[in-house]
């Protein structure tokens, strides 16, 4: 791939990742390269085991051992500077997660803590990442109220105001922390709670959750799948992240609810200018939602193109096979012959060689590099990289 363009926010280069399991070393990612541009919805599509989820987990560096990143770079372009995220240490990554890059997972009820209301959980993100903003808003409110208050109330409000201003200046202030423990005095934090709740309700409204005042106090098990997923998306959007990663968020939902969420995601892209990395195995969703698409197979990115080109002129034999296997009435069911190779003992060269009808000699010897075969259209196949 060519040099990084400034409008890219993430650029994954040659990412290698292995899982060291009891049965052997699973070479899950075999040199994955892709880029995400600002403001777009990039779809990553592939079958189970192709590595799409693992790639997104690597971007956030939340891959669980026995998984280990073995090579490559993940370049993150923010505020004009480029960093390699793989070099970040854990405290730095914690600052990134939720604030700059956040993630939505497949099962909403697994992402929500069953013993807290959804309002509390969304509020928690506010406290983690936007506390300053909240405090400033409370201070402004207090200042206005102090003007019109009289007598005892005025004194109380002045006291609260001083506490908040101190909190703003020095978040670890001893005085504030003590005040938070004293029984009646600690009520001063209720103002903060009210402000957070107000913003949470606003956020839920933006996500088209009906009756957000009521939903804010509900527990995850009281919500349906679609509502729960919207709450999870709300949690992910609280801190206005630069990138939202969505890992099959609608796979477990009914098709009508899925349609609603897809429309919602496109709205978010338009209204908030969010950049979204959308992982799925459903080509229909990809066509419905994404601007560009990356196709993955057995740990490699095999094709990247914008969505129209991908569906009209797929270049990689695997992509072609995928599109052909979409069920159509009147046609017998077809699929790509063979099965996904074992990632513990992958075949040499291109991992698709066993199932590819165009396989040549070189496909068994050398792994095809990702080359540009058309305008912004990248393919990893010897048919296009001049293999001899």
């Amino acid at each position: 791939m060519e040099k990084a363009v400034s409008e890219e926010i993430i650029r994954v280069e040659d990412l290698y990742l292995n899982f060291y399991t009891y049965e052997g070393v699973v070479k899950a990612l075999d040199g994955v390269s892709l880029n995400i541009k600002r403001g777009e919805i990039l779809g990553v599509v592939g079958e189970t085991g192709c590595g799409k989820s693992v790639t997104s987990l690597s971007i956030l560096k939340i891959v669980v051992p026995p998984g280990k990143i073995e090579g490559g770079q993940i370049k993150f372009n923010v505020k004009g500077k480029t960093y390699n995220m793989l070099e970040f240490n854990e405290p730095t990554m914690s600052r990134v997660r939720g604030r700059y890059i956040s993630m939505v997972f497949q099962e909403p009820r697994a992402a929500l803590n069953p013993v807290y209301s959804v309002g509390d959980q969304i509020g928690e993100v506010f406290y983690l990442h936007r506390k300053e903003e909240i405090i400033k808003a409370v201070i402004e409110q207090l200042r206005k109220e102090v003007e019109t208050a009289k007598g005892f109330r005025k004194r109380v409000l002045r006291l609260y105001l001083s506490l908040y201003e101190r909190m703003l200046k020095n978040p670890k202030s001893l005085r504030v922390r003590l005040a938070s423990k004293i029984p009646i005095l600690r009520r001063f934090r209720n103002l903060m709670k009210k402000e957070v709740r107000k913003r949470t309700v606003e956020l839920l409204r933006t996500l088209r959750i009906p009756d957000p005042e009521r939903v804010v106090d509900m527990y995850p098990h009281e919500l349906s799948g679609g509502m729960a997923q919207r709450c999870v998306i709300a949690m992910a959007l609280v801190a206005n992240p630069i990138l939202l990663i969505a890992d099959e968020p609608t796979t477990n939902l009914d098709v009508t609810v899925q349609a609603q969420i897809l429309v919602l995601i496109r709205e978010l892209q338009k209204k908030l200018g969010s950049t979204i990395l959308y992982i799925t195995h459903d080509l229909g969703v990809v066509a419905e939602l994404c601007d560009r698409v990356a196709v993955m197979y057995a740990g490699n990115v095999v094709e990247i193109a914008d969505v129209m080109t991908l569906f009209k002129e797929p270049l990689h034999p695997y992509t072609q096979g995928l599109l052909e296997s979409i069920p159509r009435p009147g046609k017998p069911f077809t699929s790509i012959p063979g099965i996904v190779p074992s990632l513990i003992n992958p075949p040499p060269g291109c991992r698709f060689n066993e199932r590819c009808k165009y396989a040549m000699d070189i496909c068994w010897k050398q792994k095809p590099p990702l080359v540009e075969a058309g305008k912004e259209h990248y393919v990893a196949c010897h048919l296009y990289s001049g293999g001899k």
């Binding site: 939602l289 296997s325 069911f333």
Partner: protein, 351 residues
């Protein structure tokens, strides 16, 4: 086309217990008055979203569950069904009615007679990992129907197992293995082998390809079609994946909150769905063609709980065409021509 199965007003409710004394506080009305008939040799598709009752319907038809009320007529000629309906209306206490019901209605069978039915009706479950006993060898899993029903055992059973494994694309070498040694697609084939070993006539396929990889799906679907031709099977294909159902079924029914809202021949239904819910459902399927994107979600709101379904037509709170009568009375399934049935007052008026 003769009817293999005719269902009249079938209802299946699940009680919910609550309180200190564990009394019944509410009922989940999973299947709430379903009428349909399935022709011999066809593949009848049932689609709908979660909570619509399609799985419960399938399991009740083959009597894995006992219905609360209604009839399931198996291998019953149309005249007899008519006779029964007539007798029920005019002479419900007649001995003839009792006799006919005992002969043809399988809804209330018990004991040995129910066991005899198992030979003819089978089911393939959604998740092949959990539908095969992990502590049993493949040979025993597939032979179980023969052994449990006393049809065959020992060497004879083993021979039949081998024959049936070969029919689904496996082989004799797979006999002495445990399910966890196979891939998802192969496990589902084992489940299919188990389902066909007694030479059944009717098989309920409950989302058989949902838990399997995309690349394996086509192989399984081709297998289903081949087996249907080879063995003359009748299928009820339950799925939430509308594109697959379109390709494999001859007729399709759409369910919503325990009732069938529309059914017709596949081509006809997918070309022009009439019921507002069916229309919205089909319009929600993401089309793998980026030139055909939609701007609005076709349906807003969510499916209500089957514990307390809306009065009258279940769909009326979300329906754009809802009229006054829709809130009060449940619409019956009406033939709008060519075997196309819709349960909607607004549509019925138009046609």
């Amino acid at each position: 086309m003769e009817n293999l199965i005719t269902i009249e007003n079938l209802k299946k409710y699940f009680p919910i217990y609550g309180g200190v004394l564990k009394k019944k506080v509410a009922e989940v009305k999973a299947v709430d008055g379903v009428n349909l008939n399935i022709y011999k040799g066809e593949c009848f598709g049932v689609v709908g979203e979660s909570g619509c009752g399609k799985t419960t319907l399938g399991k009740t038809i083959i009597r894995l569950l006992s219905p609360n009320s209604g009839h399931i007529f198996y291998q019953t000629p149309r005249e007899i069904v008519e006779a029964i309906k007539y007798l029920e209306k005019n002479d419900p206490k007649s001995k003839a009615l009792k006799y006919l019901l005992r002969e043809y209605d399988i809804a209330y069978l018990r004991g040995r007679r129910l066991k005899k039915l198992r030979r003819f009706m089978q089911i393939v479950f959604q998740d092949p990992t959990t539908s095969l006993d992990p502590r049993m060898l493949v040979k025993d899993i597939v032979a179980e129907p023969l052994v449990a029903q006393g049809i065959a055992k020992g060497k004879e059973a083993e021979d039949r197992v081998v024959k049936v494994l070969e029919m689904v694309g496996l082989s004799r070498t797979h006999l002495y293995r445990y399910p966890h040694e196979f891939s998802g697609g192969q496990r589902q084939r084992i489940a299919v082998a188990r389902a066909i070993i007694t030479n059944p006539e009717f098989i309920v396929l409950d989302e058989p390809t949902s838990s399997v990889d995309v690349s394996v799906r086509a192989q399984l679907l081709n297998l289903f079609q081949d087996l249907q031709k080879e063995l003359g099977l009748t299928y009820m294909f339950i799925s939430h994946d509308l594109s697959i159902v379109e390709c494999i079924s001859h007729r399709v029914a759409v369910m919503y909150l325990g009732k069938i809202v529309e059914f017709a021949e596949t081509g006809e239904l997918y070309k022009s769905p009439l019921h507002p819910y069916a229309k919205a459902l089909f319009a929600s399927i993401p089309i793998p063609d980026p030139t055909r994107r939609r701007e609005r979600a076709p349906l807003s709101g969510e499916v209500p709980s089957p514990v307390n379904p809306p009065s009258g037509c279940r769909f009326h709170p979300r329906c754009e065409l809802a009229m006054d009568i829709c809130k009060r009375q449940e619409p019956p399934l009406v033939d709008v021509g060519g075997g196309h049935f819709v349960a909607c007052y607004a549509i019925a008026k138009k046609e």
